[in-house]
Symmetry: C2
Subunit: 508 residues, 2 copies
């Protein structure tokens, strides 16, 4: 079948584990003067095929100019070592990678042609099998970004994403879900909606993502109070027991192509509409959902900045959703400023807990938004009459059923815990007296990230003000939280290099 390995029985090298982690890209290390490099003229970045018996992977070559390896040795990056299932001292065969035929389809897209569902499936199969280097994935993402995909292609991409992964089958006909397109710091409504909906009695198996370009994803925030890294089987048990869960989707290989792509998207700090849409809907379809409410925050520094763009995305989500069998309702919400007070996993979890526990000073904006979305889910599922959704949701929150359900879900996911608190805190004061007239979501997110979020769970920013609020010169606008002094300094350095991320006008 494949002539590229079998003809080269002399092109073998002995594996030695150097323990180098290159993230997911498979890398092979070989000496410049090994017989394989010499006879084949391989040089750094050549793509090679590495065979271990029946198994094979494609890997990018990095060349060793020293005695790190002996001339008859090679090494593999950690992920490649595991994927290929090799042991120290085993021999692998090395040969030219066969041409990556599916990249011809990406090239065709670059040249402006349309791609079919079949074409996307061909590409994504190779992506999932790690045949694409990060450079190839970057090009695919860029070629499919922005308005380069039309509606048929979005449908094709979404279906292809679903088809290359696993798909959950539930015993119920009605499976609800909610999602937020993101871009708004602190918008942690999932952790309110899931317990309300599950307490009502519907099934909501929510898989969330970790942060891509933001200081916290729902999975990061949830992780501060309970494990989210559940295997499929464990997640299914939680849902059967409690009616809902809030887990990390990545652990589950639902839409694995999306996980491979997101890693490079994160390096690029780029989200595109087609990818966004395929990412959201493929996860929902793979999770077996039938009815999905999608929150699109709209504001000058949110992900969606004009009502036209939000409307178009909303329409695409509903149409593409219908094409793959999902009933989608889009809710466009106010995205002018962060939601709640905390930004960063632990701080956001603290806000969520105070809403669930009906504390008097719980952030009312977060509470209101959670209730609106939970209400929309109930109405979309036709579980309550039109107009009764929010009211029903509020009753479940107020009488403590939501809080009880949340605790039960946390227990079922592996046990509830307290969010960590940061070691270092630093208040940042208002430079003048006046009124808050604008807040830059993007830069606020960046400051929280520089302070260490989401990796450092307790890091981030605690906002003390909201839009239109009056403030005195010298009062704290927000407090930075960090787990290391270094990260606190990065965040402060960045703040000093910027125009104001929170604009204060007027006042004496």
């Amino acid at each position: 079948m494949n002539p590229f390995c079998e003809n080269n029985h002399d092109h073998t090298l002995i594996l030695r584990r150097l323990g180098i982690d290159t993230s997911r890209e498979a890398v092979i290390f070989m000496r410049k003067d090994c017989h394989v490099c010499r006879s084949e003229g391989f040089e750094a970045l050549t793509r090679l095929k590495v065979c271990n018996g029946e198994k094979s992977i494609l890997a990018t070559l990095l060349v060793i100019h020293s005695d790190l390896l002996k001339p008859d040795e090679a090494s593999l990056s950690e992920s490649a070592w595991i994927t290929l299932g090799v042991k120290e001292g085993e021999r692998v065969q090395i040969s030219h990678a066969e041409p990556l035929e599916s990249f011809g389809l990406v090239r065709s897209k670059i040249y402006g042609n349309k791609l079919s569902e079949e074409a996307f499936r061909t590409i994504l199969k190779d992506v999932v099998q790690r045949k694409y280097s990060d450079v190839h994935i970057s090009s695919f993402l860029t070629a499919c970004s922005d308005d380069r995909l039309d509606q048929d292609e979005m449908i094709g991409l979404t279906k292809a994403m679903v088809s290359v992964g696993e798909r959950l089958i539930w015993e119920k006909d009605l499976i609800v879900d909610k999602h937020c397109v993101g871009g708004l710091p602190g918008n942690r409504t999932t952790m309110l909606v899931v317990p309300i909906i599950a307490a009502f009695g519907l099934t909501i198996p929510k898989t969330s993502s970790r942060a891509i370009t933001s200081p916290a994803g729902t999975a990061d925030t949830m992780e501060t109070v309970a494990p989210v890294d559940l295997e499929l089987k464990a997640m299914r048990k939680v849902v059967e027991q409690e009616g809902g869960c809030i887990v990390w989707g990545g652990a589950m290989r639902l839409s694995p192509a999306d996980d491979m792509l997101i890693r490079v998207e994160r390096a690029l700090n780029v989200d595109s509409e087609g990818q966004l849409l395929a990412s959201i809907l493929s996860k929902k379809a793979s999770a077996g959902s039938t009815h999905v409410v999608i929150d699109i925050p709209l504001g000058p520094t949110a992900k969606l900045r004009t009502s036209e763009a939000a409307r178009v995305l909303g329409q695409h989500l509903e149409t593409v959703g219908a094409a793959i069998g999902l009933k989608v309702k889009v809710v466009i919400t106010d995205g002018k400023e962060p939601i709640g007070r905390g930004i960063g996993p632990s701080l956001e979890a603290r806000d969520v807990l105070s809403v669930l526990q009906n504390e008097a000073d719980a952030p009312s904006d977060l509470r209101e938004r959670g209730l609106v979305l939970a209400g929309e889910v109930l109405e979309l599922a036709e579980a309550v009459a039109k107009g009764q959704g929010k009211h029903t949701a509020e009753a479940i929150l107020v009488d403590g059923r939501a809080w009880k359900k949340f605790q039960a879900i946390c227990q079922s996911q592996g046990g509830m815990r307290e969010p960590k608190k940061a070691r270092f805190m630093h208040p940042v004061e208002s430079p003048r007296t006046g009124k808050v007239v604008a807040m830059d979501n993007r830069r606020i997110a960046r400051v929280a990230k520089l302070a260490g979020a989401p990796k450092a769970q307790a890091a981030g920013m605690d906002l003390h003000i909201h839009l239109n609020q009056a403030i005195e010169k010298g009062e704290a606008l927000f407090t930075l939280h960090a787990e290391t002094q270094g990260e606190l300094q990065y965040a402060l350095s960045y703040l000093r290099s910027l125009p104001e991320i929170i604009s204060i006008e007027g006042g004496a």
Copy 2:
């Protein structure tokens, strides 16, 4: 000024050279459990700033899980080691990379906005300073590919490419040049045009590229007969002495941004119009040219496939050229089949030498094309009357002046040598009797590359037929040349997996 290094005097590690070549992308290797990774939470693929006194670079982190390094040690990839100018045992400071602000401009391009010359300059400065990882470069290339750049942007990109590199100043007012957009195997006319034009008395300081996606670039082919890796000063001396040269442009840092981009373009196997145009014209402008003839081969498997596309590219080249002060004449030529017989550096050089030496069986198509282009250069420069160009060029070839000049140029570049011959040859026979009706340039190029070209100079393919020629079943269509048995096998395997790359029709 820059707060990212100075605040972290404790974040230092001791350098140990592991000798790992990652091509041009700068990589830093650190132990997972070193105090810097632990305190900062760095993980594989994080972009870091590495400071050595005043000098600093950005590098991508790969994480070591073994004893390859001690906990207080780090290593750098070979190119990073050299760029940063460090020594074994020195301490470097490591910190978060400041945000790559210029990538915001790439993002803006992805979202469909226009980029100004200033924006391109900002991006390319960072590219040349190696602040972009390969993943970033891949995205930039893809975002600017195909029809994503309008004419103003092409001008901006070209000017920016020129401005971030060096520019040659000559003492003459008239500096001529020629270029081929490529895509046609064997089209090695530069090695004919340069000696003819220089023998005529004009100045033609030709810098050529190595192969990007083809089995040989002019620099690769010229290298089989003379050194091409000349420094700027040496190249200038050749031109002053002989009126012309044929050297590798990459050694000269003319348009260094282009060299950084081409490396990733090669990995992607993608050429785009805007990049192509900026690449060509920036090299020409940087080399100080004033009049440039550009050859665009047109054919069903050439780089340009429709006369409309060739016309549009030609018009862009002339217009963008004019905008940056170059007089450009585009010549659209027949690109239906390879030129000459050999494909691969040595084989192509052999064809060129036979034309220069007026051998009776020299490939007439290569000769004809060289004369046409040399004639166009003479006419564009107004060195001869309209219509007299080709005739003048032919006289210089026929009477041996061109051959004499070519030898003198080779001598001046460091000495003339014989092209190598391949160790392994394998004829491939026609499967039937008939007439050659089509030749697939792309697949012919791929077979020559799998046989080892351009890295193995003598490797490639020697064609024994041309379009419309009659052939008997069992006669050789072409002969594969390779320097290793393995490469010969790859080429043969690929051939077997394909439909015919040379189509034969009719016959009995």
